[in-house]
C-alpha cells in the first residue's frame, strides 16, 4: 500500500491539522516508509493466531450503574477559551 499527496492532504484535513504544500510533499515518502515497515508484519502467517488484546489475561470489567460524578461545572469549563451562562461558547456551527 502506498499513498499519494492527495491522500496526505485529505488525512490532514480530516484530522484538522493544517499543513503546507511543502510539508505535504515531505510527508508522502515519510508515511509510505512507515506503512512499508508495518506491512512487513503481514509476512508472518497469523491466520491461526487469536488476536491479542492484552499482555496479561485480563477482562473488561463492568461498572455498577450509580451516579458517582458530575456537578463540577466550574472544573469542566475552567479551560474553555470562552464560557457563557454555564455553556461552552464556540464559533457558530450551523447546518
Amino acid at each position: 500500500m502506498s499513498i499519494d499527496k492527495e491522500t496526505v492532504k485529505k488525512i490532514a484535513s480530516l484530522s484538522r491539522i493544517a499543513i503546507t504544500e511543502a510539508e505535504a510533499d515531505a510527508f508522502v515518502p515519510e508515511l509510505n516508509q512507515i506503512l512499508g515497515w508495518v506491512e512487513q508484519l503481514g509476512e508472518v502467517d497469523t491466520s491461526k493466531v487469536e488476536p491479542m488484546t492484552a499482555v496479561i489475561p485480563n477482562q473488561l470489567r463492568l461498572r455498577e450503574d450509580v451516579v458517582t460524578d458530575g456537578e463540577i461545572r466550574d472544573k469542566i469549563l475552567a479551560n474553555a477559551p470562552i464560557a457563557e451562562h454555564g455553556f461552552f461558547a464556540v464559533p457558530k456551527v450551523i447546518e
Binding site: L14, R63, D69, G70, R73, I82
Partner: protein, 495 residues
C-alpha cells in the same frame, strides 16, 4: 396485502420505495455509558459532565454494566442472536458537540446480531395484516452533546450533559416499502423497548430518533442508490421524510439525474429534506478498535439472567388476551400496545376471582369508557384518576345487577370528579337499580294508561313503538330500572 403496496406514480410508470431505519434509542440508566455522571433529563447545562465526558487528557472509560444488560435484554426480546464477544471501536470525526473527537461505538463486532420485529398494518386485526421486519444488528454507542444556535448572534453554546449517555443503535434491514410500514415498525419497536424497560421511548425528549434510509426502484428491479436523512424525531416526520425523499428521487431520475448517496437533513417547517454539505467527507470515519477498552465477553449465566428478567412481551400478551381471555382481536391489540395499559388492565382482572369471566366486559369498558375519559382529561393511564381497584368495584356493581350499564356511566363520571368509590356514590345518590317486578309493572301500567293511542298502534303492528315504551318507563324511573326486566315485562304486558 393491498394496503402495503405503496407506489410513486412517475412519468415513466410506477416506482417502488425501499426503506431501512437506524433507530437510536437512549438506554435507560442512572449514569452514563463510560462515566459516573447522571443521565437525568433537563438539568442545568454542563452540570452532569465528568472529566471523562469532557475528554480531559488521561481520562479512561469504564463500561456501565446496566447498559450492557439492557442491550442484551433488548436483543433477546426481538429473538436476536446475542454475540458473546463484542468490541468497541472509535468513530473519528470533529464536531463541536463531541469533545473526544471520536464516538465510542461498535462497528466490527456489535453486541447483538440479527433479529426480527413483527409489525402490523391494521391494529384492528394485527394477525391478518402482519409483516416481519428484519433487524440487522444492535450496537451500543455514546451520544453526543447538544448545540444551541439561537442564544448568541455569533456563537453556538455547547451543553455536554447528554455527551456520553448510552444509546442503542437498532439497524433494520431494508424491509419496509411504505411510510405506513416504517411508522408501524417504529411504533412496535418503541412498544417492545418500553415493555423491556431498556428505553423510555420518549421522542419529544430525544430518547428515540431515527436515521431514515430511502431509495427507489422499478418494482422488483435492482436496488437504487439510497440517501440517509439524519435525526428524525417523530413518527409523523419519519413518514414525511419518506414521502418527500421518494418523490424527490423519482423526479430526479426521471429528469435524467442520478441520486447521490449522501446525508440529508429534514426541515419540518418546510416539510422537505436537504443535503448536509458539511458532512460530505464525514463518511471517512477511520474506525479502529478503541485501545482503552478490552473486548466485551459475556458469560452464559449473564445472558440467561437477562432472558429470565424479561416480562411477557406484546406479541405473547396479545395472543394470550385473545386465546385465553377471549378478547376480540381489536381489544387484545389495543390493550397490549402500551405496557402501562396492559398492566392496568391486568390489575383490574386480578381483583376478580374469575378473571376470564369479566375479561371481555372489562376490556370493552377500558377501551371505551376509560380511554374516553383519559383522552378528555389529557392524561396517560399511569395517571388515571380512577384506580384499577375502583374500576373493579364499579364493574362489579354492574355484573351483580346493582346498577345498569347506563347508570354506571353516570357513576363513573362522578368517580372521575370526586375520587369517591362506586358503592359510596350509588348509595348516596340512590342509584341502585330497580329489579323488583312489582314496582316496574306499576310504572308500566301508568305509562300505558297515559299513552293509550300508542298502545293501540303498537298492537296494530307498529313494532317500532316498543322502544318508545322502554324509554318512557326508564324515564319515569330515572333510568334506574333494570333494562332486561323492563323489556321482559313490557313484552308480556303489551302482548
Amino acid at each position: 396485502m393491498t394496503e402495503s403496496t405503496y407506489r410513486i406514480q412517475g412519468g415513466t410508470g410506477e416506482w417502488e420505495v425501499v426503506i431501512g431505519l437506524e433507530v437510536h434509542a437512549q438506554i435507560t440508566s442512572e449514569s452514563k455509558l463510560f462515566s459516573g455522571a447522571s443521565t437525568e433529563f433537563g438539568a442545568e447545562p454542563n452540570t452532569q459532565v465528568s472529566l471523562v465526558d469532557a475528554a480531559m487528557p488521561g481520562m479512561l472509560p469504564t463500561l456501565n454494566g446496566e447498559c450492557v444488560r439492557q442491550a442484551v435484554r433488548t436483543g433477546l426480546a426481538i429473538n436476536a442472536q446475542i454475540n458473546k464477544y463484542s468490541r468497541f471501536d472509535r468513530k473519528n470525526y470533529f464536531y463541536a458537540d463531541l469533545p473526544q473527537g471520536y464516538q465510542i461505538s461498535q462497528l466490527y463486532h456489535p453486541i447483538v446480531g440479527e433479529g426480527v420485529i413483527q409489525i402490523s398494518l391494521d391494529e384492528k386485526d394485527p394477525d391478518a395484516h402482519g409483516k416481519a421486519i428484519g433487524v440487522e444488528r444492535i450496537h451500543i454507542e455514546q451520544d453526543a452533546g447538544k448545540l444551541m444556535h439561537d442564544q448568541h448572534p455569533t456563537m453556538s453554546y455547547v451543553d455536554l450533559n447528554r455527551c456520553g449517555v448510552a444509546l442503542m443503535e437498532i439497524v433494520s434491514k431494508p424491509d419496509m416499502t411504505s411510510p405506513k410500514e416504517a411508522a408501524a415498525y417504529v411504533r412496535k419497536l418503541r412498544s417492545i423497548l418500553r415493555y423491556v424497560g431498556s428505553c423510555d421511548g420518549n421522542m419529544e425528549q430525544g430518547s428515540m430518533r431515527a436515521d431514515v434510509n430511502v431509495s427507489v426502484r422499478k418494482p422488483g428491479g435492482e436496488l437504487g442508490t439510497r440517501t440517509e436523512t439524519k435525526n428524525v424525531n417523530s413518527m409523523r416526520f419519519i413518514q414525511a421524510v419518506i414521502e418527500y425523499e421518494a418523490q424527490r428521487q423519482v423526479d430526479l431520475i426521471e429528469d435524467g439525474g442520478t441520486v447521490v448517496q449522501e446525508t440529508r437533513l429534514f426541515d419540518p417547517d418546510r416539510n422537505e429534506t436537504r443535503s448536509m454539505r458539511s458532512k460530505e467527507d464525514a463518511h471517512d470515519y477511520r474506525y479502529f478498535p478503541d485501545p482503552d477498552l478490552l473486548p466485551l465477553e459475556l458469560e452464559d449465566d449473564f445472558i440467561f439472567d437477562c432472558k429470565a428478567s424479561l416480562p411477557e412481551l406484546p406479541d405473547e400478551k396479545r395472543a394470550r388476551y385473545k386465546n385465553v381471555l377471549g378478547l376480540s382481536a381489536y381489544n387484545a391489540a389495543v390493550l397490549t400496545a402500551e405496557h402501562e395499559t396492559a398492566l392496568w388492565f391486568e390489575q383490574l382482572l386480578d381483583i376478580s376471582d374469575e378473571p376470564e369471566k369479566i375479561a371481555s366486559t372489562a376490556a370493552n369498558w377500558v377501551t371505551s369508557e376509560l380511554f374516553g375519559a383519559l383522552n378528555r382529561l389529557g392524561v396517560g393511564i399511569e395517571n388515571s384518576p380512577v384506580s384499577p381497584a375502583q374500576a373493579a368495584e364499579l364493574l362489579g356493581l354492574v355484573a351483580d345487577g346493582t346498577i345498569s350499564g347506563k347508570i354506571a356511566k353516570q357513576v363513573f363520571e362522578i368517580m372521575l370528579e370526586s375520587g369517591d368509590g362506586a358503592k359510596k356514590i350509588v348509595e348516596e345518590k340512590g342509584l341502585v337499580q330497580e329489579s323488583d317486578t312489582g314496582a316496574i309493572e306499576k310504572v308500566i301500567a301508568e305509562v300505558m294508561a297515559a299513552n293509550e293511542d300508542k298502545v293501540a298502534q303498537y298492537r296494530d303492528g307498529k313494532d317500532k313503538l316498543f322502544g318508545f315504551f322502554v324509554g318512557q318507563t326508564m324515564k319515569a324511573m330515572q333510568g334506574k330500572a333494570n333494562p332486561q326486566v323492563v323489556n321482559e315485562l313490557l313484552r308480556k304486558t303489551l302482548g
